[in-house]
Point group: C2
DNA sequence: TCTGGATTTCTGTAAAAACAGAAACGAGAG
DNA sequence: CTCTCGTTTCTGTTTTTACAGAAATCCAGA
């Protein structure tokens, strides 16, 4: 890791580890961390040099980050090479990430649960009833979460931030505490 | 996969895949799915037979699930063997999972960010200032999320469910829409 | 203390993922 | 058209993770 301050290095390494724990390739996460913290767009070669990984690896990882929608290509005048930059707004960035994970993983899970519930409704026997009830509970939970997310997602960022900040006041206002 | 209805099989397989995408071992996730959907506690041998995995694998996976806190050991009269059962309440279950992930991954990340911000505050130069600002934004985001979670977590389950159900009404009540 | 079932730990193997380097491909400049 | 610089795809290797089977340990009852 060349030309990085100790703090930056520590951040990039930790972010890479975080990635692996959440099912994201370590290198992908590291490149994301690097681009996020960099004040200017970087080209692939720079990323190779800084992180010490192969060119092809960087190329594939960058494509992955673009698929996630949190890294974009830009071009600088007088330079034919692609340059890459991460989204800067943290809140927006996580909004994008969560939306994408919902699309890729949560929505298909809800669909699967729907199918399983249907299927087990057609099966007979006491066991099938139990199974169906369990699956329905799971389905209800995921649907509740998904709906809530959709609603929050429709808010403008500052509005959403305010919502999350409210806390105690929020609960009191809604008379939920009792 | 012996003695399972098609719906149950589909569910267990999907849940296993979900696991891998979220950094959970496939077998661990499958065993969890099996125990979740089972109406009675199972012993290790049954799990082996049903899922077709080795005894040792089941043993380690069960320990992992117990570390997560979503599977517990029980004993049946007239049977020396350990029996295992998953939490049944879906909402509680995810509360436990999220709490654990926060403890393992989010809290250490916040600590790391704090350290990095401190370190980069001691460094000089324009670049260091930029770095620090980025890290501070990230830190603020994580702290906001963590605080909000703590608050929701303190609510009784039915209260929290009501909160998530409110949706539109909620936003209007708070005058957030504008 | 000994015994038999039950569980965990250890060790080598198999499978999967990550990765580097080379080759192929593409786009703009001359 | 072709040469050059840059990017992507392909292929084989390395590393990591998951896993099975064997060995060791544990525990209750005799």
């Amino acid at each position: 890791m060349k030309d990085l301050t100790p703090a930056t290095q520590k951040f990039i390494l930790h972010w890479g580890e975080m990635g692996t724990k959440w099912g994201i390739n370590r290198t992908v996460a590291q490149i994301h961390a690097l681009l996020f913290i960099s004040e200017r767009p970087l080209h692939a070669e720079e990323i190779c040099g800084t992180l010490g990984v192969a060119r092809s690896n960087v190329s594939n990882s960058l494509k992955e980050l673009q698929n996630w929608g949190i890294v974009k290509v830009t071009h600088l005048p007088e330079d034919r090479r692609d340059h890459f930059e991460s989204m800067k707004d943290v809140f927006e960035m996580f909004r994008v990430i969560i939306t994408e994970r919902k699309r890729r993983e949560i929505d298909p899970t809800i669909a699967m649960l729907r199918e399983c519930v249907e299927e087990s409704a057609r099966e007979t026997g006491l066991a099938a009833v139990h199974t169906r009830q369990r699956l329905e509970q799971l389905q209800a939970f995921f649907e509740l979460g998904a709906d809530f997310y959709e609603k929050v997602n429709r808010l403008e960022t500052p509005t959403a931030v305010r919502l999350f900040r409210m806390g105690d006041k929020l609960f009191r206002l809604l008379g939920l505490k009792g």
